[in-house]
């Protein structure tokens, strides 16, 4: 199988150097662009399998680069951001970013995100039965089993879980979850989301206070794994 190719768009030489070493040692091909303009051109000439995009670029804002890329590029885009800018992260995710990671990041975590995003590029899975740790979810029959035992969910709880499961490993923003499960008019109704995530965790997590499947990405959304 060919090596997957990652395009890194970042103006920091040190970060570029670090990323090249980390990604190449993980058996990925790396191409690098130092500005948003170059990045868009390089992506257009030869579309990579994944784009790693710094949101704080000097020439164009990362958000604009993202919008421009999303005009035609359908594969994964992971945003590199700094902490304490959750609003930017949420905007980027709503603008079509696949995932994000904040600086300072752990190389191991970054590689895991990259692998998971590339895997999702390739398999447009519509399997009906999905197994995730102790959970077995049958999307067609609308049933959930935990350790083989049937778990009773309400219709909304199941819709929420199904959305999570279809986007396994990926962060979903509050707005996105509310829109997909409750509808366009409910995008600000975060209390619905809080309530249903809480009741869902009580049913599917071994320790709902320290959830393993539905984890909170503070200020951004939730991730299912």
């Amino acid at each position: 199988m060919n090596k997957a190719e990652v395009l890194v768009i970042d103006d920091e030489a040190q970060i570029q150097k670090l990323l090249r070493i980390a990604l190449e040692s993980a058996d990925l091909n790396v191409r690098q662009a130092e500005s948003g303009r170059d990045g868009v051109l390089m992506a257009a000439n030869h579309p990579p399998d994944l784009i790693l995009l710094d949101i704080g670029l000097p020439d164009m804002s990362g958000q604009e680069v993202l919008k421009e890329l999303r005009g035609w590029y359908t594969k994964a885009i992971i945003i590199l951001s700094v902490q304490a800018s959750e609003a930017d992260i949420v905007t980027a995710l709503d603008n079509g970013a696949t995932d994000y990671i904040t600086k300072p990041f752990r190389t191991g975590e970054l590689l895991a995100r990259i692998r998971s995003a590339i895997r999702r590029n390739n398999v447009e899975q519509e399997r009906s039965i999905i197994v995730c740790g102790d959970l077995e979810i049958d999307l067609a029959a609308r049933t959930v089993k935990r350790d083989g035992a049937l778990v009773k969910l309400t219709a909304t709880e199941f819709n929420l879980l199904a959305l999570f499961v279809r986007n396994e490993g990926r962060v979903l923003t509050h707005r996105h979850l509310l829109r997909e499960v409750w509808g366009v008019g409910y995008q600000q109704e975060t209390q619905y989301l809080r309530v249903f995530v809480r009741s869902l965790r009580k049913k599917i997590e071994t320790d709902p206070e320290r959830p393993r499947h539905i984890t909170t990405e503070s200020g951004v959304g939730y991730r299912f794994s």
């Binding site: 300072p104 975060t190 209390q191 809080r194 995530v197 809480r198 320290r210 503070s218």
Partner: protein, 373 residues
């Protein structure tokens, strides 16, 4: 205790005075003119008893009191007005501006000069006072700045030295490091990096507070989830037992979850940092009087009573504590809680230890209302 009281009354007096002086000028004029008129009117029926010369002293006293309270413009107007009123109503022949004797003319002129000198002197005293206050403030700022620089250069340079030193040791081909030593150096670099990141985070938060740009964004929060996140983040890197004891029927609260998370994080981090390994940190959450109440109790040494108020001051650190803090954590707690209209208190845990209580007024929503959808 008595010193604090004296300080407080001093500052309240200053507050009242500065409030009076910041009244609009026309209002100050009106008050001064009214005061002179009232005093003159009061003296009028008593004139037969006390004589017009004592009346002059009474009026002068009134002008002196006004000089202490108001700005120079209105006071000068009061001085002139009182002189004229004295002349017109009291100096014989009364009800004319004519002055009969040379002695009275001299008295009238002296009256006017004394009243004016009074006004000018009060102004000068006030200017000197303000200068002294400004100087004191400036000294305090410089002191704070020095503390900041000392603590920052220490706090930032220590991890930087660790990183540079460890990298040198790893790069030096002459020395032969065992595998274990290499691992130790690498984890020292890692720890130093995380420490730098934490300090930068603290400074950024302080900056947000100081700039006054902090605008809390309230949204529905599940306190269990919020505290659980902090506990799992800090629990994995400390040798402490961090226990969450939250009321299971807690409603959702509408508050700024990001700020509250930082608040809880800083308080728990503080408890973990300054209590011996193996200590217990218990986090409680409840709903009382329309507020979200969060308590953080540890069984460490606690705070001496006289340190409890100062604990939240910027850059303040307990005497004889281990290094490794800028003294910013708790002041950020106070700032972030205050920005949401809440309060934070530090008390004693039984039998020993510190007990922090945070109260943030917030709208609530009970889960049961939505259960049946």
């Amino acid at each position: 205790m008595s010193a604090t009281v004296a300080l407080n009354t001093g500052s309240t007096r200053r507050n009242v005075l500065s409030r009076i002086r910041s009244l609009p000028l026309f209002q100050q004029h009106a008050i001064c003119i009214t005061a002179v008129a009232v005093v003159a009117l009061g003296c009028f029926p008593a004139e037969g008893l006390i004589g017009y010369r004592v009346t002059a002293l009474v009026l002068l006293m009134a002008v002196s009191i006004l000089a202490m309270l108001f700005r120079i413009g209105p006071v000068m107007v009061a001085a002139a007005l009182s002189a004229l009123a004295w002349n017109f109503f009291f100096i014989p022949p009364t009800f004319t501006f004519h002055i009969g004797s040379t002695e009275d003319l001299l008295l009238f002129l002296m009256y006017f000069v004394v009243a004016s000198v009074n006004a000018v002197l009060s102004l000068k005293i006030r200017q000197v006072e303000r200068k002294a206050r400004d100087k004191e403030q400036k000294e305090r700022t410089i002191e704070l700045y020095n503390t900041l620089l000392n603590s920052l250069s220490h706090e930032l340079r220590t991890p930087i030295s660790t990183i540079v030193g460890a990298v040198d040791a790893l790069q030096d081909r002459e020395t032969r490091l065992t595998g274990e030593q290499r691992t130790d150096l690498l984890s020292a670099i890692d720890e130093a990096g995380m420490r730098l990141d934490r300090q930068v985070g603290n400074l950024l938060n302080m900056g947000r507070l100081e700039s006054g740009m902090l605008e809390p964004k309230a949204d529905w929060c599940d306190i269990h989830e919020l505290i659980g996140g902090v506990v799992s983040k800090l629990g994995s890197v400390s040798d402490h037992a961090i226990i969450l004891k939250a009321d299971p029927s807690l409603p959702l609260f509408k508050l700024d979850g990001g700020l509250l998370e930082q608040v809880v994080h800083n308080m728990v981090h503080n408890a973990v940092q300054y209590t011996p390994a193996g200590s217990e940190v218990v986090i409680g959450a409840s709903h009382a009087d329309g507020s979200c109440v969060i308590t953080i109790a540890d069984n460490g040494p606690g705070f001496p009573e006289e340190e409890r108020v100062r604990a939240f001051n910027k850059f303040h650190r307990l005497p004889n504590t281990r290094s490794g803090g800028t003294g910013l954590g708790l002041s950020i707690v106070k700032g972030f809680v205050g920005a949401q209209g809440g309060s934070v208190e530090l008390g004693a845990n039984q039998p020993h230890g510190a007990l922090f209580t945070v109260r943030i007024p917030a709208e609530t929503s009970f889960l049961s209302n939505l259960k049946h959808e």
